[in-house]
């Protein structure tokens, strides 16, 4: 009896998560797609002026789309080489005890709330960038550095798993042929773990693209297309987060439409990540 009850409860919870995904998808598209229809896809995605309350109103999200893109690429440039390097160290080089200490420490890094990262970026890094590099300090560069650190735990843990999954016979074969340990890592282990590392990069990309709070605090939210890393910019998420509370009417619909674009981007990334990691298991 109780066995079946629990089964029913667990089934309901499982269905609930599916249902909520469906409801969210439906709701966002229902609220956002009509506006894209009114404005037109090309002027919405390609327009450079965002003035949702002006007269005339203008809904162009290109600056935010590019802002998201630049910031994500920047975060990957900072986070991926560092993350993969740490993963290689932990899987291949670190003494067992050291790796045992580092792993929970890195998991802790993943557990820090993003608002704290944003706060550190805002109060420590932004003034430094303004003083020594120029610009307003709240910039793509500042956000990319902090965001790169934020995606590192994801990159590290998934890459490390991928590296550990490389069969030992590969390493032994390489060493037996006279390769040094570094040559083995660079020439054999990393290529063999390639698809797992790629999956970690794509997941990190998703995280960087979706991060909102920390970005609102650090990027300055200017509506220009950033021409230099020291320029302020706006991302798709930070603009929704900044404006949603105050938005009404068409402005609100336009923010949901921004959400639709973001949703499609993230879904595409997830599908790619899935395809890539499945390629590895096959």
């Amino acid at each position: 009896m109780s066995e079946r009850l629990i089964r029913a409860i667990l089934l309901t919870t499982a269905l609930l998560s599916l249902i909520s995904l469906a409801v969210i998808t439906f709701f966002i598209f229902q609220a956002g797609v009509p506006l894209i229809g009114q404005v037109g896809i090309a002027p919405f995605i390609g327009g450079t002026v965002w003035n949702p309350t002006g007269d005339p109103k203008s809904f162009g999200i290109l600056p935010m789309l590019l802002g998201s893109l630049y910031l994500t690429v920047g975060a990957l440039i900072v986070g991926v080489p560092l993350g993969v390097a740490v993963a290689v160290f932990m899987a291949e080089l670190a003494p067992r005890r050291m790796a045992q200490i580092m792993r929970p420490a890195i998991q802790l890094l993943a557990g820090i709330p993003s608002v704290i990262y944003g706060f550190v970026g805002l109060t420590l890094l932004a003034p430094f960038v303004r003083e020594y590099l120029g610009g307003p300090g709240l910039s793509v560069l500042t956000s990319a550095i902090v965001l790169g650190i934020m995606i590192m735990p994801n990159v590290i843990s998934i890459s490390e798993d991928a590296i550990r999954a490389v069969p030992n016979s590969y390493r032994e074969g390489s060493l037996a042929l006279g390769a040094t340990q570094w040559q083995t890592i660079w020439g054999v282990v990393l290529p063999a773990a390639r698809s797992g590392i790629l999956a970690s990069v794509i997941l990190g990309m998703g995280r960087a693209l979706g991060e909102t709070m920390a970005v609102i605090m650090m990027i300055g939210n200017a509506l220009q297309v950033p021409l230099s890393p020291l320029d302020s910019a706006t991302t798709l998420t930070s603009n929704i987060g900044l404006e949603l509370a105050y938005a009404s009417g068409q402005h609100r619909e336009a923010l949901f439409a921004t959400g639709v674009v973001l949703f499609v981007l993230i879904m595409a990334l997830n599908l790619i990540a899935r395809a890539v990691s499945q390629q590895q298991t096959n």
Binding site: I6, P52, T53, A222, E243, A245, Y246, H251
Partner: protein
Amino acid sequence: MMRSNQCAWKSSKLILLSCLLLIATLLASCGQSTSNSITLTGSTSITPFIEHLAELYMHEHPGITINVQGLGSSAGIQAAQNGTAEIGMSSRNLEADEAADLEQLVIAYDALAVIVNPENPIDNLTREQVRDLFDGDLPTWENLNNTPNSVTLVSREAGSGTYSAFDELLMDKQLISNRALRQGSNGAIRQIVADNPDAIGYISLGIVDNSVKAIAIDGVMPSPENVHNQSYTLIRPFLFVWPKSSTLSPEAQAFIDYVLSPEGQRELERSGLVQRGNQ
């Protein structure tokens, strides 16, 4: 086999327990609202002033709870319309369709101050100069204070009451430059201007403190006296709104009476606003 079954049983019991706990918490939080509480939602510019009044009021009237939520003028107007808050707070004028079904009450007036960093030698700008700075015609400080540094504009986001007031009162249909940083609150703008010697922004006069310098517009300082005698012109109303179709609860009416009372108005003036009676 036996062992793994036991394990599964244990963890499913744990999940069941946490589900029950979650439901219990949700139910408990639903049951908390009592008839003696009023909710005011809206403009983040008004929120700090009303929070202050609400504290004083609750101190004198124990047993009444006043929730003040700063979500933005538009959110406040919407909340009043759909009944999620009894009173909405707006720091922008209502649009025609909003005014059709909402009662509105001016509780005070607020002046917008244009602020610069204390290190900036500028004390006075003309309206045209402020407009030229904010629409991007003056990208550097060169012609104003003889430093070659580029101007860091700090503005609010579209939809905020402060933004639309500044836009209406000063920009004269010119678009605010897309180089302007946008921040979600008056406090955040003040913080950036306080930290950055090349920044200029605009905030509620009541929020100005020594960390920034409010400048005169066309030679008129944004002081309470100049706002009273209307020589300072960047002024906007702070509004309470509620649906025309509903009557306010006695608790809400009593709180509004307190806000409008000489005591409440004096308190608002002390925090930097301008009494409604003076307009």
